[in-house]
């Protein structure tokens, strides 16, 4: 850890101005990940620009029929917000299955998107890691990789994105609102996070001088048929080995629309248009779910310790789609999987 400057941003424009003047500065909101990384000597920002006081704390309905979530809304507030609980319960459940109450109280909506991987090697500065030190090599590929990715990996990196919330946001096709020196723009959720490729040090397509201001949810919330199932090594307070967000629109027992996203398996929440298309017009039965799972897991590759994730993900997808179809979403408090 090295000493750093601390400054508060007064408003979004001020935040953008401040970060532009110092390329090694970082924004800090809840700090639930960044502060750990600084302590571990993985991050060493020269300056922390505190954006936690920016007036981005509202959850408002949009004229388009969706919901706009301020980037500084704490995870807890978002999960329990009536608009979210009623219209986007998938998002609520995904948030509540992550971290602990105390962490969710601190963590911001925008920050949740920007949390870094939990790959062991990323946190251990005594080992090579391309994400931490580009060009040093990936220790996980031949190492302790039980928690690592099976999809969208590269020879440079097999890290996963650890968020639960983002898996739901991907399934709901949220839009990320960002602001930068060139003005405001929006990024479709699918385009927000990147695959590692040759630049695993870059997790997202957010430019270094840009700031997330809001997340917008489209009108469709799939509140009748959804489920978020998180499989992990203990029943709470652990990152996902595999998680599944499933959302269906049904006509009787025929699928009219389907959304399916995986967490814990790739450098970003994992979706496939082919998998979702394969469900359209199908009856809600295990055979259809299995076919969708196969599409979604197409090209999956294990690295030894994490080989089991492929089969686990397949079964978890089938189970989650079943829960969604039956209208019996996975409970966060009752750890039994139904």
């Amino acid at each position: 850890m090295i000493p750093f400057q601390y400054a508060r941003a007064n408003d979004v424009a001020d935040a953008i101005k401040q970060i532009a003047t110092d390329p090694s500065a970082k924004f800090i909101a809840g700090g639930t990940n960044l502060i750990d990384l600084i302590k571990y000597d993985v991050e060493g920002p020269s300056r922390l620009i505190d954006i936690s006081h920016l007036p981005l704390r509202s959850v408002e309905p949009t004229s388009a029929g969706g919901v706009l979530i301020g980037a500084m809304v704490p995870n807890t507030d978002l999960a329990y917000h009536p608009l979210i609980e009623q219209r986007y319960p998938l998002l609520s459940r995904a948030i509540l299955s992550g971290a602990s109450q105390q962490l969710r109280n601190m963590a911001s909506t925008g920050g949740n998107l920007l949390q870094r991987t939990r790959c062991f090697y990323y946190y251990d500065t005594a080992t090579p890691c391309n994400k931490r030190e580009p060009g040093s090599g990936c220790s996980a590929i031949d190492g302790v990789n039980r928690i690592n990715a099976i999809l969208g990996t590269s020879e440079a990196c097999i890290a996963t994105h650890p968020s639960d919330m983002c898996v739901a946001l991907a399934a709901l096709e949220a839009t990320v609102h960002v602001a930068g020196p060139a003005g405001a723009r929006t990024i479709a959720f699918a385009d927000f996070h990147r695959l590692p490729g040759n630049t695993p040090q870059r997790d997202t397509n957010l430019e270094p001088d840009e700031i997330i201001t809001a997340i917008e949810l489209p009108p469709k919330g799939f509140s009748a048929n959804y489920s978020y199932l998180k499989i992990r090594d203990r029943l709470s307070y652990a990152f996902a080995l595999v998680s599944v967000a499933a959302a269906l629109e049904l006509d009787g027992d025929t699928i009219k629309e389907a959304r399916l996203a995986l967490g814990g398996v790739a450098h970003k929440p994992w979706r496939s248009t082919a998998a979702e298309a394969a469900l359209l017009g199908q009856r809600t039965d295990a055979a259809a779910f299995a076919k969708a799972a196969d599409w979604l897991l197409h090209g999956a590759k294990g690295y030894g310790h994490n080989n089991f994730k492929i089969g686990l993900a397949r079964r978890a997808i089938i189970r989650t789609l079943g829960q969604a179809a039956r209208g019996t979403p996975q409970s966060n408090s009752d750890k039994k999987i139904r």
């Binding site: 203990r234 029943l235 709470s236 089969g311 189970r319 039994k336 999987i337």
Partner: protein, 735 residues
């Protein structure tokens, strides 16, 4: 007055703990305190070629950086570093001694600064250049280099021959990975030099052990060193041996002539001792009626390159089951890691896990109920020493545990108890540990106002030692518990052994009883000295102290108040110091026993395991305090759940480093993993084991729990997982 012994008394130190009044080793602030931060090795083996401390020294607020090159003098022989629990063979690790790297995470430098944050910043700027040497950290890969040690129990008969001709056989290997203690409190020491005298606040399970150790390492006279540890946020064995931060704190305090605190980070605690990774091989041969004819138990465990640490893994079967033929073997493998150390029920947590899984597998092979098999093999004698027990209510543990659990409703066939998508499994196991007593001295100071101070150099590692001491003293002195103050955790107090091995309750409480008897004798003398004393002619064992009075046991009307006896003798205080009497009697085995019953529910497709019920029925002699005793055993059960399903220190053997050195990724059970736990204490009067009939509860709670859960998982799924932890990927063939 009702007896405090046996009553569910709340912790006497509870208020101090929840209000923060109770201070821990890293919380003693003194003016001018310097903070030390450790720089550790990033390689497991080699030499330090160069340490560049210039960057650290440039940081504002940094006072100095100590390395092996510039440290003050310390002892140069192994004996000086041998503490009470040091291994018999080997050279104890010497912190900051020379340029040799023995394990990853070894302290190489200590940065000293005016505040902790500055020390940490500067520590990140220390650059170390190494000459690396080839290392080994994988037990399985080094197995061929295992060597036998002479610890195990003696063989009987011919186990191999009996096994070969047995009607029913079971043979298998079981594996327990490296585990770390992870006490909530970080290891810390605060060292203060004052006029040639050293005072150290240390996180330790033995203040006198650390005191003697520091005297050796720094060549100090015993009266120049005082070590204190009034409270401890969990030890579990990790605080039995002096840890390196106490040496560093004293070194630095000596170098700077200022008080110094060294506190480790969570990650640094993974370079202290650990439960050794262990391979256990069991070979059981039975007659068709379920009686054992052959029992072989072998263990191969990890130790460091520089010390040979081993505990009794293989001898527990001798205490549980009759077998005319038996053989035991214990081997060690030396790896480039810190020396393994005691961790709750060392040897038994691992050895009994393997033994009790093997017994379950034998029951399956015999088509016999697992409890029935244990009863069939039940031994009323310690088979190794061929002696009876002081007491052994294990049969009653099986009976009461099974009844509370509803074991009679178990269907024998695996996978036969299904509920929706869950497979339900019921498993059981036995537990066993030792009931030891160690020489201990207790001082009682009784003052004329009816208050007493009870003191010994014990540590309360969170188990309730303060509370049981107050209970026993209150009963023995006939005073209300609020009038008793307990002092411990100070090396200047009367001699007390380490808080370990489950022996503190029996040792300390029997010493209190002896000291209280001496106090009673003094009071009786004073009472008899009174004019027309009603107690004339009574002896010390004819009277008791009850409700503030010295009362004849035969005739309660013959009584003198303690206050008036002391007043008449002009005694404003009575001070006595006595030891317990540790029986040398080798004609009886002294053990505690338990029976554990566990229910698991396993999601058939996903392999997710939940431990929904555990009953632990324990026979451990007299239970001093059902409330703290219950917590103690419940904590053991929770740890057993962790051992069965979660705990594993993950090494990357290429780097020789622990990869999950934090409690986010080193998993222990969280609330969601803990469901219904029922603790039963089986009545077990025992006047032979020691006068108060106390056997101790520190270890027994965890013993056998992982086996009961593993056996339940087998019963649920038909899948036998023999390497811990039982994670979901071992349950289901996913691909």
């Amino acid at each position: 007055m009702a007896s405090y012994i046996g009553s569910a008394t709340s912790r006497v130190d509870g208020r101090a703990k929840v209000t923060g009044e109770a201070k821990y080793a890293g919380e003693f602030n003194v003016p001018g305190l310097v903070h030390g931060y450790v720089v550790e090795s990033t390689i497991p083996k080699g030499r330090i070629v160069r340490i560049d401390i210039s960057g650290a020294l440039e940081v504002d607020g940094v006072i100095d950086v100590l390395t092996h090159r510039n440290r003050p003098q310390m002892a140069d022989n192994d004996d000086a570093y041998k503490d009470e629990v040091a291994t018999e063979k080997g050279s104890p690790y010497r912190p900051l001694y020379d340029d040799i790297v023995l394990f990853s995470g070894q302290p190489l430098a200590l940065v000293l600064a005016e505040d902790w944050e500055t020390a940490r910043v500067a520590a990140s700027l220390v650059k170390v250049e190494y000459q690396k040497a080839p290392h080994v950290t994988d037990l399985h890969a080094e197995r061929a280099n295992a060597f036998a040690i002479d610890k195990p129990e003696e063989p009987r008969g011919d186990a191999e021959k009996a096994f070969a001709s047995a009607a029913v056989r079971h043979e298998a290997e079981y594996f327990i990975p490296t585990e770390h203690h992870n006490p909530m409190e970080l290891f810390a020491s605060t060292a203060i030099w004052d006029d040639g005298k050293l005072t150290v606040y240390d996180k330790t399970q033995g203040v006198q052990n650390v005191q003697q150790y520091l005297c050796g390492v720094f060549k100090l006279k015993p009266d120049a060193v005082r070590v204190m540890s009034p409270y401890m946020g969990g030890g579990f064995g990790s605080g039995l041996r002096p840890q390196y931060q106490v040496v560093l704190a004293v070194l630095a305090a000596r170098a700077l002539k200022r008080p110094v605190r060294v506190m480790l980070s969570r990650a640094q605690m993974y370079a202290l001792g650990h439960r050794p990774a262990t391979i256990e091989r069991l070979a059981l041969g039975a007659n068709s009626d379920g009686t054992l004819d052959a029992m072989t138990h072998e263990a191969i465990a990890v130790t460091s390159q520089f010390e040979e640490f081993a505990r009794n893994d293989t001898g527990w079967g001798n205490l549980l089951y009759k077998s005319p033929n038996a053989k035991f073997e214990h081997k060690l493998v030396k790896l480039d890691v810190p020396t393994s150390c005691d961790m709750r029920a060392p040897g038994a947590a691992t050895g009994v896990y393997a033994l009790e899984c093997a017994m379950d597998e034998l029951a399956v092979a015999l088509k016999m109920d697992p409890v029935q098999l244990r009863l069939q093999c039940y031994s009323d004698r310690d088979q190794g020493a061929d002696i009876p027990y002081t007491s052994k209510q294990l049969r009653e543990c099986y009976r009461q545990g099974a009844a509370a659990f509803g074991w009679d409703k178990r269907k024998a066939e695996p996978r036969s108890m299904r509920e929706g998508s869950d497979l339900v499994g019921w498993g059981m196991a036995s537990g066993v540990w030792e009931a030891l007593q160690m020489p201990t001295t207790v001082r009682i100071v009784l003052t004329a106002n009816g208050h007493a101070e009870v003191a010994t150099a014990a540590s309360d590692i969170g188990t309730g030692t303060y509370t049981i001491m107050a209970q026993v003293a209150a009963d023995m002195l006939g005073l209300p518990i609020d009038n008793i103050s307990v002092k411990l955790g100070d090396s200047t107090l009367p001699q007390c052994p380490l808080e370990g091995g489950s022996w503190i309750a029996s040792s300390v409480c029997n010493a209190i009883a002896n000291t209280a008897r001496a106090v009673r004798g003094d009071l009786l003398k004073l009472a008899i000295g009174m004019k027309d004393s009603p107690l004339t002619g009574t002896g010390v064992d004819d009277v008791a102290l009850i409700d503030g009075k010295i009362i004849s046991r035969r005739d309660a009307t013959r009584a003198v108040s303690i206050a008036s006896a002391m007043q008449s003798g002009n005694a404003d205080r009575i001070t006595r110091e006595e030891a317990n009497k540790v029986a040398e009697d080798k004609s009886r085995a002294r053990n505690v026993h338990s029976a554990i019953f566990a229910e698991v529910r396993v999601d058939e497709q996903l392999g997710v395991i939940r431990v929904t019920r555990v009953v632990n029925a324990v026979a451990a002699g007299r239970i001093l305090n059902p409330k703290t005793a219950h917590s103690q055993v419940m904590g053991g059960v929770v740890w057993g759940i962790g051992m069965a399903l979660h705990e594993e220190t993950l090494f990357d053997h290429r780097f020789g480093r622990v990869m999950n050195a934090n409690i986010a990724e080193y998993h222990v059970p969280v609330n969601a993993d803990v469901h219904d736990i029922k603790v039963i204490f089986v009545d077990e009067p025992d006047e032979i084991v020691n006068p108060l009939g106390i056997k101790g509860l520190g270890e027994i709670g965890i013993v056998g729990v992982a086996a009961a859960i593993a056996n339940a998982v087998y019963h649920a799924t038909g899948k036998r997982v023999r390497d811990l932890p039982i994670t979901l990927d071992k349950m289901v063939q996913f691909n």
